[in-house]
Symmetry: C5
Subunit: 295 residues, 5 copies
Amino acid sequence: MLLAKQISIVYFLKLIKWDVMAVFLYACLVGAMDYLTFFKELTIPLSVSAMIGTLLSLLLAFRTSQSYERWWEARVIWGAIVNDSRTLIRQLIQFIPNDSQKTDYVKQFAIRQSIWCYALAEGLRKCPPTQKVEQYMQQLGADSDNRPNLLLSKHAEQLALLSDQYDINANKQVQLDSTIQRLTDAMGRCERIKNTVFPRSYSVLIHFLIYVLTTIFPFGLDDHHWAIEICLATMVPVLFIAIERTAILMQDPFENKPTDTPMTALSKTIERNLMEMAQMPAPEQASPIATFYLM
Amino acid sequence: MLLAKQISIVYFLKLIKWDVMAVFLYACLVGAMDYLTFFKELTIPLSVSAMIGTLLSLLLAFRTSQSYERWWEARVIWGAIVNDSRTLIRQLIQFIPNDSQKTDYVKQFAIRQSIWCYALAEGLRKCPPTQKVEQYMQQLGADSDNRPNLLLSKHAEQLALLSDQYDINANKQVQLDSTIQRLTDAMGRCERIKNTVFPRSYSVLIHFLIYVLTTIFPFGLDDHHWAIEICLATMVPVLFIAIERTAILMQDPFENKPTDTPMTALSKTIERNLMEMAQMPAPEQASPIATFYLM
Amino acid sequence: MLLAKQISIVYFLKLIKWDVMAVFLYACLVGAMDYLTFFKELTIPLSVSAMIGTLLSLLLAFRTSQSYERWWEARVIWGAIVNDSRTLIRQLIQFIPNDSQKTDYVKQFAIRQSIWCYALAEGLRKCPPTQKVEQYMQQLGADSDNRPNLLLSKHAEQLALLSDQYDINANKQVQLDSTIQRLTDAMGRCERIKNTVFPRSYSVLIHFLIYVLTTIFPFGLDDHHWAIEICLATMVPVLFIAIERTAILMQDPFENKPTDTPMTALSKTIERNLMEMAQMPAPEQASPIATFYLM
Amino acid sequence: MLLAKQISIVYFLKLIKWDVMAVFLYACLVGAMDYLTFFKELTIPLSVSAMIGTLLSLLLAFRTSQSYERWWEARVIWGAIVNDSRTLIRQLIQFIPNDSQKTDYVKQFAIRQSIWCYALAEGLRKCPPTQKVEQYMQQLGADSDNRPNLLLSKHAEQLALLSDQYDINANKQVQLDSTIQRLTDAMGRCERIKNTVFPRSYSVLIHFLIYVLTTIFPFGLDDHHWAIEICLATMVPVLFIAIERTAILMQDPFENKPTDTPMTALSKTIERNLMEMAQMPAPEQASPIATFYLM
Amino acid sequence: MLLAKQISIVYFLKLIKWDVMAVFLYACLVGAMDYLTFFKELTIPLSVSAMIGTLLSLLLAFRTSQSYERWWEARVIWGAIVNDSRTLIRQLIQFIPNDSQKTDYVKQFAIRQSIWCYALAEGLRKCPPTQKVEQYMQQLGADSDNRPNLLLSKHAEQLALLSDQYDINANKQVQLDSTIQRLTDAMGRCERIKNTVFPRSYSVLIHFLIYVLTTIFPFGLDDHHWAIEICLATMVPVLFIAIERTAILMQDPFENKPTDTPMTALSKTIERNLMEMAQMPAPEQASPIATFYLM
């Protein structure tokens, strides 16, 4: 579950410290230039800065909104994975006739589905695989670049076997197949978000606009005390940078960062639910890992 | 049903009173500083404040719009729950052959489905369970962390039994299964909204921007009477705060707050409809609970 | 069909006349105050008004856009009702084997479906029922709070009977059931829009902002002629009010107002189409009712 | 296919010439008034104009975006018609067993589906029917107000006959029925866009705002040469009008205007594809009709 | 896979160099005019420029957002193609009974599906066909204007044959048909994006507004040094142009440009996955082609 803990301010400040530094130095430089003989008389009206500020604000609004969409879509997909994992096991319980082996089969699917969730999370984060997954893959005696795809194939294979053994009605087979197809879709949608970088050109443009603003803004503040001027000339661009950084934090939801989709926690929840449904002992309660921020 | 009563203004004023106080004090402080020797001569042009105001307005527009989306999505999900509850009972009536036990079976589903709605609502609000739900769970002789999930499993189990007993065609079983799958999805989508906090960083940024604005705004109002100045310097930030608060009110639609999704009222409506369809005595008309605001 | 007649300007002016009056009086009052000894010297720079104006414009843009979405969704739902009504009758013609009674059965469904549309429209508008619907319900010998839901149950009952009589394949039964499920969904979505009030807090905020603007705006126009000042101080807030009123007009699409979804006209179109498909004499062409505006 | 030819500038200029004329005269009038004794001393600060300009810009952004959505939806629907027409014929080829008559039946469907596209396009554009469609309807010996609906009924009738003749499995019948249902939906969605006028009140408001702006704008330009003043006072409102006109051009995508959905070209493409699939001689390549603009 | 390499700045600068040049010359011209006798005294307040700047910013925000939507939709479609290609092969493995020929049949589908992806990519980019596709089409002994459509028909034909040979249940046939229908839809949606040009009128308007801004902007900067003036008068319009160019880069996602959807890389990934599933030797890892930018 995604807890409401606050992202540590320290983390965020660390993130933007080099930008702040750069803008501060740049503002000092421009401020100093403003006092040189040649540029002393120069004023660029604040309206020009305001015009660029409006343009920049609108671009940032677009950027923020698109990043949020990506982040939200990632969560919607993992929500769907939770639902479809539950649905898969529920359908198996409903469609396999009662006999001595049924519980075993359901358990096998429940375990494989849990491993699928962990493997998908690790694949997206490009983490080294946990012992749990590694162990399962060794038992399986097969491996692939794309482990979740392999596990779905294994689901399909076992379904084909069970359909023969129990003579399951084709309608029900097809209904189970639809659930696996939705899991395939969820996997593919995660890969799409992971592999599609947000267009760089918008970042380049926004950075360029911020530096233009930093350059012309101090010339509109002429007759003020130099300390105030540098302070304002640093602060205004930093505000814009902070907003862009927040957007960047959100735009890649599978990157092992504090604002990441909490895939490990969700996988634990799924595991617990499936174990309960398959009447196996539940693993310990999902607890937020200490070394990992949640936002 | 969601009635058109107005959220009490008092409730809203209570909500923002500490913010208003803080901004007022801060504005007095800054206003006082403005009259000190050192800062007296200082003016920061209003254009700078306006630039930050535009940025802030756009961020608030984004915030408002995303909060509204969450609130609306919550209502769409509960609308779908209303529809699918009706559809489930209608399908059972249509698909179970007429015999002496049919009415009993339909009643059992109608009651379990009503309890499912109440249990889901309580689980989302993290309220203590009502007597109705508690009683049903005791009769059932089973319990779980996730009661709605358990009840859907019970639906599925009874469907499997009925399918055997009446030899229901696999097509119809699958159609009923699809309805239960949609209810599983609705449950999962509610959990997703409940458990996904709106990214804190946007709130932090907005607050920071509001305080920056409160700081520099009074220095643009120099030659006015101090009372007017403090008044304006308090009012403008408070307007921004009020909009953010409204967004916060909307963003968590399952938190037992006045703008909450009226899940109890909707559950009562569902109960009434299902009872009517299953030809049972209807409970009293759903009436808005006095101690609960509706917005 | 929704004709392109223009909403009468008179209607709109009537709608906002009290607001205009109030703002005019308030502007006179503030204008008068501006000439009093104490406030005479006071000027509040227009930049402050502009900042509030920008905030207000963005809130109104959000408001306008959300109201439009509701209005459009209502029309999308009724468009889907048109499609699914046609589909239902087409499917019946295709799936019921040809015999002497077939035409009768199709006619019964066509009539019930038409009545369903009228009943849904009346229920949403909370109008007294028309004679047509009342007559049908009396013939039916059953009634309910929620007439459209009852009629869908009747559809389902008759489908179950026909399925037995003609031994209709389960696949086809399920396909017909899906059509009825989509009609259930359409009904539920209409109820959701009808019963979910647009959050009042946004209206309250917008009104508050408009009055703040009306208060501080005249103090930025100091050295002008008083007539011009009052004129401007009235006009600017009235523009904002007019936009909000337009949004309010759109946001409740089932309220028997000029911008209403033309449910009666659409129901007549559906009736005509279904009668033609069921080879019955068509009712007269749907004509816009004189006492009813169309926008 | 929608070619990338440019809408003729002449067409657009013709479209706005009366507006430009009106605004020019109005600007001259106001400019003249500005030189009269009474109003000479009057200045209305440009900030007021800017405030109204911002409001107007946001309304136009909303307008533009909604018009684009309608235009895009129309194209999405016709894209879906292309897909579903191909799917229908592909399914028939796959589901009808091979025998001597199969090719004939597929041809009949392919022709009827092509005619359906042409008839739908003509119905939406309210053009007189082309010879092709007219001829087909005469051969058919039946007619209706709503020809596309009639043709879909004919599809359904023939499907029922073929199902009997070849004893087609109910699953496949239902799959074909779903394709026809999607075509019904596409037809209904086109009708919805055609018959739902964009709310007039927004146009009225936008026009009103433009005239308010034209009135107060010149009073902010006092000390300039009169030619410049009239020039600016004409140009600024004309920019806003040009944007609104562009939105109006897009909002009705079935009106036989240059920005229309290229339904005739798409119908020809569909015809070619279907003829190829049904192994009939293809009609000549779809070529843009000379008298018709494409944007 | 879409790698995170940066679009070369050089590419972008090349793209806008003529615009920059034109604006620079135009700014010099206007700047020179500003020093002529007649126009010397003329000042157009910066507020007017700011008003046009706001309008332009909002139009660009709309433009940017719609272009991004098109680009994202293209990627969503290709994501769906990845998923549905995998699903098709998985379903075949699950639904065809095990015998000596099964592996061969699955291989044929896997190869045809890979070729379909390459052919679709080439068709959209209007590239000359690669040797791989050309070779396959020659082996096939059939060709068409629309190769992907032909290949899907071949899928359908072979499915019909296999259904006969193995007596595959109609439910499963229909499930396979649905997968092919989704591929048909994906193909049609790509064609729609490819063939629907973004409305030119918005580009024309934006360009016109930029030139208006370039014309009036320098008259608001009167008393500055001429070098600064020309510098500002060039820079501000160039910022707007750069944003528009970025939008244009995104809006046509199938044009063989750096920001293109990486269809070749995705096709290679699909090929590798399908070969693995069909137990064939995998082709070499997909590697970004050196002569092709990725953004």
